[in-house]
């Protein structure tokens, strides 16, 4: 996985609440057996007409947000299906950080596996960032994971919480499976003990 570097980029505003993973990547695009190439279909039904032409009003179709690297979104972002195609599509588009007042659990976890940083902030701070994002491409935000700080285009700073282990993995671009395999001894001994205690499993 790529390391999460300090990010200085355009933020796109999507204030709608309960943006679900069917909106992020509709099921017709889940049929690939690859992990890449989903970015073009990110938010497909909101972004394109049926004939494939763009819907100009959709935020990521506006010239100032085409290169957005940050998404500021409404509450409960990523609810619904567990499809990791949602963060794959977000990452493939080039978005590396999503900010909201809350995220659905599975989506939240899936982000970290794909080099995306999801940040939870209180409503009043998300409101400020949403307003900042509305300013367009000249208003760039900075997301500093190391310092756990977001800086708005006019210099306001908000600090955020992140799980220490997840932060470490993102900063170093670590592969979870490799890390767990180092603990194979613990898994072996758990398995042996569980086979005694619950042999029917």
């Amino acid at each position: 996985m790529e390391k999460f570097e300090k990010l200085h980029g355009i933020a796109a505003p999507m204030p709608l609440v309960n943006i679900d993973t069917d909106m992020i990547i509709p099921k017709v695009f889940l049929k690939s057996i690859q992990r890449t190439g989903f970015g073009v279909n990110l938010f497909d039904e909101m972004r394109y007409n049926r004939d494939g032409t763009e819907i100009p009003d959709f935020v990521l179709n506006k010239p100032q947000y085409r290169n957005a690297e940050i998404l500021v979104a409404g509450d409960n972002f990523g609810c619904g299906s567990s499809r990791e195609h949602a963060p794959w599509a977000i990452a493939d588009f080039g978005i590396k950080c999503v900010i909201s007042t809350s995220f659905a659990d599975i989506f939240f976890n899936n982000c970290f596996k794909n080099g995306i940083l999801p940040i939870v902030l209180p409503q009043e701070q998300v409101d400020v960032l949403m307003a900042d994002a509305e300013k367009g491409e000249n208003a760039r935000m900075t997301v500093d994971l190391e310092a756990q700080e977001i800086t708005t285009s006019d210099g306001q700073v908000f600090s955020f919480d992140v799980d220490a282990f997840k932060k470490h993995c993102l900063l170093e671009g670590l592969d979870d499976i490799g890390l767990t395999m180092e603990k194979a001894g613990s898994i072996d001994s758990f398995e042996a003990q569980a086979a005694q205690a619950r042999p029917w499993v």
Binding site: V17, N18, Q34, P87, A104, D105, F165, T180, W200
Partner: protein
């Protein structure tokens, strides 16, 4: 020893390693796999030269893409992409040596129906699947939740998940349900109360008399939609109803092992005085047959209600409600029972079990569905289909004008040929009414099987209590 919740007990029995900050390697007893969220995970194993650590605990079945019409062995019934995905599962199951129910096996069906039916799901287990509706298995008092594809690969390789413990939430449904009110109405009513984000960060334990009174099928319906309330998992403590369902199933323990298992299962309940971080209580007798009007499962109202107005809401929900009402083609103030529908879908991991079909048969027996109505009933597994045929339910459905299909996810998510067309409106027993969920610009109203049956007869959303 301090009192523990059911969740605490199952969690504690599965900790393989715990770091100082609480990051835990949780051991996984059962890993269920379907064709949509697994190909990239198996490919990951191949690329790194890794094996499946516990193939005997890994069970795969294709369900999302499979057609549900007769003659589906004919490869032209599937799109090229669907065929590739199903074939990839065939190949991966063989290559990695995991249990597999291929499309032509009578036991094939929706993964969350097959697991319990075959006795793979047992009380006190940890169960995961690359599918959010894994919460279903919580009905057995198993800690069960959905995971992403990276985590699928992690479980395949290590039989563990990296987890932090969630908070405990209790949802109690007191008293008795009124006639015409079902498990589906309970679970939708709870989401209406808590919102789709209300359970985020929690594992829910459902309890109370109305929950105890439910069959295993009903309990699975309730837990299935825990995820729609934002909770990763829903749990119901096992009891005699659970043991009776499990006993004798192909992969359930037998003989002395059954007795040993039963001894442990009987310790799986929340201790008196255990702490819950959040408690929600509903009175069973207050719950009415409900329908959804919008495009979020929290958009729930009793069937006796009217379409709300965006101004009835606050904050970001105002815009979301405006968008929903427009998408659904409704008018604020319109009576829900005046909403005309053209399609009925009965099935899915929420309501594709035998009891659901019995409830439908009770409503439609000897009657005909509305002229022009497209109504399909899709069993959750090949075995449910067989049982419904043996009980004579399939004949009742056919005579009433329903299409009686083969097992699969079908129109719950329209990754297969069963889809809504633009503007079509469906009463569905599935779990999600999201925009486009059942087909591009399709409109979904979530209901119980009995309510879906009533709607099929009248051609509009209908209070089933008026028909039976």
């Amino acid at each position: 020893m301090s009192p523990k919740t059911l969740y605490d007990k199952i969690w504690d029995a599965h900790v393989a390693h715990e770091a100082e900050d609480g990051t835990t390697l949780l051991y996984i007893d059962r890993h269920l796999v379907h064709e949509v969220t697994s190909p990239q995970a198996f490919e990951g194993l191949r690329m790194t030269g890794r094996k499946v650590r516990a193939p005997e605990k890994t069970i795969a079945v294709p369900d999302h893409n499979v057609p549900t019409t007769a003659g589906r062995e004919d490869p032209t019934q599937m799109t090229e992409e669907s065929r590739i995905q199903v074939q990839a599962l065939d190949t991966n199951a063989k290559e990695f040596g995991i249990h597999y129910y291929p499309m032509n096996d009578v036991r094939q069906g929706i993964v969350h129906i097959v697991g319990p039916e075959q006795g793979w799901t047992l009380p006190g287990m940890t169960v995961v699947c690359g599918d959010s509706h894994t919460a279903t298995h919580g009905a057995f008092g198993a800690l069960a939740h959905g995971i992403g594809t990276s985590e699928v690969e992690h479980v395949l390789a290590t039989q563990t998940l990296i987890q932090k413990k969630s908070k405990n939430m209790k949802v109690e449904i007191t008293g008795k349900l009124k006639p015409g009110v079902t498990a589906k109405d309970i679970t939708l009513a709870v989401i209406g109360e808590t919102g789709t984000g209300g359970g985020t960060g929690y594992v829910i334990e459902y309890c109370g008399e109305a929950i105890r009174d439910l069959s295993m099928e009903g309990r699975m319906t309730v837990c299935n939609m825990a995820i729609e309330g934002g909770a990763r998992a829903g749990l119901i403590a096992p009891d005699q109803t659970t043991y009776d369902y499990v006993q004798g199933r192909p992969h359930a323990p037998k003989g002395a092992q059954w007795e040993a298992a039963l001894d442990w299962w009987k310790t799986l309940f929340t201790d008196e005085g255990a702490h819950f971080d959040k408690v929600v209580t509903l009175k069973g007798e207050d719950i009415q047959p409900v329908v959804t009007w919008g495009t979020s499962p929290e958009d729930v109202l009793p069937i006796t209600g009217v379409v709300p107005s965006p101004e009835d809401f606050e904050g970001g929900k105002v815009e979301a409600a405006r968008r929903s009402i427009e998408y659904m083609g409704l008018t604020p103030g319109q009576k829900l029972t005046d909403i005309e529908i053209d399609t009925v879908f009965i099935g899915s991991c929420t309501n594709g079990r035998i009891e659901d079909f019995r409830a439908v048969a009770e409503v439609v027996k000897g009657k005909k569905i509305k002229d022009g109505m497209r109504a399909m009933i899709v069993p959750g597994s090949g075995l449910v289909r067989l049982q419904a045929e043996e009980e004579g339910l399939a004949d009742i459905f056919r005579e009433a004008g329903f299409e009686w299909r083969l097992a699969g996810c079908s129109m719950c998510l329209a990754m297969n040929p069963d889809q809504l067309s633009e503007g079509e409106r469906c009463a569905a027993t599935s779990n999600r009414n999201f925009e486009g969920r059942q087909g591009y610009k399709g409109r979904t109203h979530l209901v119980s099987p009995a309510m879906a049956a009533a709607a099929a007869l009248t051609g509009r959303l209908t209070d089933v209590r008026e028909l039976v």
